[in-house]
């Protein structure tokens, strides 16, 4: 009897551990998301909260029917009709895509170099990559404002080198945004790349050399294909948050060409249009699910063969 009881308890615990991620997602992603979906189907109102309808439990079934009847797709219609939104989405797509490519180009050599370091130095290199996280993200972005401003470090250096005569206006430009984003997200690209490259079996490179492949070609034929999972992880880890990035473009970017995160912020806090803001967020989540689903599919395929 005792053994059975204990077995039952064990099963409970196992079930909980198996379900924990799902429960977590349900409580902290799915539920808030459903609330956002609901708000996106409402209309703005000068009230507290600033939208209607609100669901009144006391009104019972009739109340529920009235509530459902009051929901509408008006916010989504606005989203489709005003070019501002589409422009913001495209801007986000452009920034996320270009930044991811730049991050990959810069991050890959760094990760590759780290993976080839003597094992004694690798933990130190790893700490150096994570070191920026010791300082607040916001402070580091403000530091970039300082560096990039008209009389800042960057222009001073360029002038000292004789590369420019008059200071360049770096701030409030796409360049500044890219600098800020690439700087901030580099560790998220380097770490997954390093994790895969570090595991590369050196014997495979010897086998390639043995079969007549010089080192540089072995890099392209063996190292790069084998690091594909790291590339996918790094790109995904950067692309998704960059797409919704708000702080960096807001502080460093041009206010005339905004990313979707900024549009969302404006709807919420400046226009107090919660339904529109929620609709923007719902569409954003929909867009970002796409690369994740593609990645999962690719992975399932890779696992199968």
């Amino acid at each position: 009897m005792m053994a059975r009881w204990r077995g039952g308890q064990g099963n409970w615990w196992a079930a909980f551990v198996r379900l924990a991620p799902t429960l977590w997602l349900a409580a902290f992603f799915l539920l808030p998301f459903l609330i956002i979906v609901k708000i996106s189907l409402s209309q703005t109102a000068i009230a507290q909260p600033p939208y209607t309808p609100t669901f009144d439990l006391a009104a019972g079934l009739a109340g529920l029917r009235a509530f459902l009847a009051a929901l509408s797709l008006e916010s989504y219609r606005i989203l489709g009709s005003d070019f501002l939104y589409l422009a913001s989405y495209l801007k986000s797509l452009q920034v996320a895509a270009v930044s991811s490519v730049i991050l990959l180009i810069i991050g890959y050599p760094i990760a590759y170099g780290m993976a080839r370091l003597h094992p004694r130095w690798q933990p130190i290199a790893l700490v150096l990559v994570i070191l920026p996280f010791w300082t607040s993200f916001l402070i580091r972005i403000y530091a970039w404002i300082n560096i990039l401003q008209r009389e800042g470090l960057f222009n001073t250096a360029l002038a000292a080198l004789g590369l420019v005569d008059t200071p360049v206006a770096w701030l409030s430009s796409d360049t500044a945004v890219y600098i800020g984003i690439v700087y901030s997200y580099l560790p998220f690209m380097v770490l997954p790349l390093y994790a895969t490259l570090e595991k590369t079996d050196a014997t495979l490179l010897e086998a390639a050399a043995d079969l007549g492949c010089p080192r540089w070609r072995a890099f392209w034929l063996v190292t790069v294909p084998l690091s594909a999972p790291g590339v996918a992880a790094g790109v995904l880890l950067c692309f998704i948050p960059i797409f919704g990035e708000f702080v960096i473009p807001d502080l460093l970017g041009d206010s005339r060409s905004v990313m979707i995160g900024q549009t969302l912020w404006t709807e919420f806090f400046a226009n107090k249009d919660w339904p529109a803001a929620s609709a923007v967020a719902v569409v954003l989540v929909g867009i970002l699910l796409l690369p994740i689903v593609l990645h999962q599919r690719a992975q399932a395929r890779a696992d199968k063969d």
Binding site: D201, T203, L204, E206, A207, A208, A209, D210, L211, G212, C213, P214, R217, L221, V222, P225, L226, A228, D305
Partner: protein
Amino acid sequence: MRRGFAPWADAGARALLRLQGVSKRYGDIVAVDALDLDIFEGEFFALLGPSGCGKTTLLRLLAGFETPAQGSILLAGEDIAAVPPYRRPVNMMFQTYALFPHLSVAGNIAFGLRQERLGRAAIEARVAEMLALVQLEGLGARKPHQLSGGQRQRVALARALAKRPRVLLLDEPLAALDKKLRAQTQFELVNLQARLGTTFVIVTHDQEEAMTMAHRIGVMDRGRLMQVAEPSELYEQPNSRWVAGFIGEVNLIEGRVAALEPGIAVVAALGGHFRVGATAGVGPGDSVCIAVRPEKVRVANAPAAAPTDNCLAGSVVDIGYLGGMSSYQVRVADGFLVRAAIANATRRTTPPIGWDTQVCLTFAPQDAVLLTR
């Protein structure tokens, strides 16, 4: 094994691979120590030695993954010590196989051919040929992780042979296989080598494997080649105590040369005299070692009435029944233990000679080897 194939015995023959004074160090460790070795075209050569003796390092020097600190490595007369691995006409089969996990079986076999910029049709034809050679037809599209250990081993072999190397290097190629598969694969490798005529250099720590497969064996210890010889010579004519002890079982009886007769040395050891075929260069008074294999020791039941030469009197302390053989341990003078093996030529359930029996062990002068090293 090909009959009459012995280019090493021919003074006029030129070696395909010639190592001269080759050394390799890792810090303080001398992995390969001033090593000289000739390997001939078409030979199946085995490097045999205990773990850590430098076999893999020697193979890696031949493949080009390591460069020697001293010495030269000549392939068909040309020094290749400084030639990078990707330009050597030599291929290696790795101990871990090192198959590319992202490529199919066919992709793995074609990898080396692609580096030669062969045409597509030529590559496909060669891949098909190699798949047939290792009996993996129809598995070309599989990925390495979808294969069994034995199949992976064949892919590695096919990949290494696809480029028609002058020399194929095999680092413990059978170590990862189970016993039954290993025996079968040994046989197949020997057949394959005989059919292709490619020079094989195989590394192993398994002496039985080396004995059954190779034309000649180089026995290594601590970076040095102790003896290079055909399997039978290695067993019957070891050149040192170390080699005699490393290959098979042996009784090593230390003594001193008492007298020399024509072709025979009389050795004083264990309180008696032993007549052994003399080795060139031994003189009276030299301290020597008599090496005699257990199966060459005869066990006589009754102790000899009067001690004669080549007789070790003692009592049986242990008997091991091994099926085809029985192994006897006999304690002789000074508490020295001598091992004798007797073929069980007839069916018997009790040993012909029992425990604690007083016996006399003898051996013929030509059945023992006199060692000075």
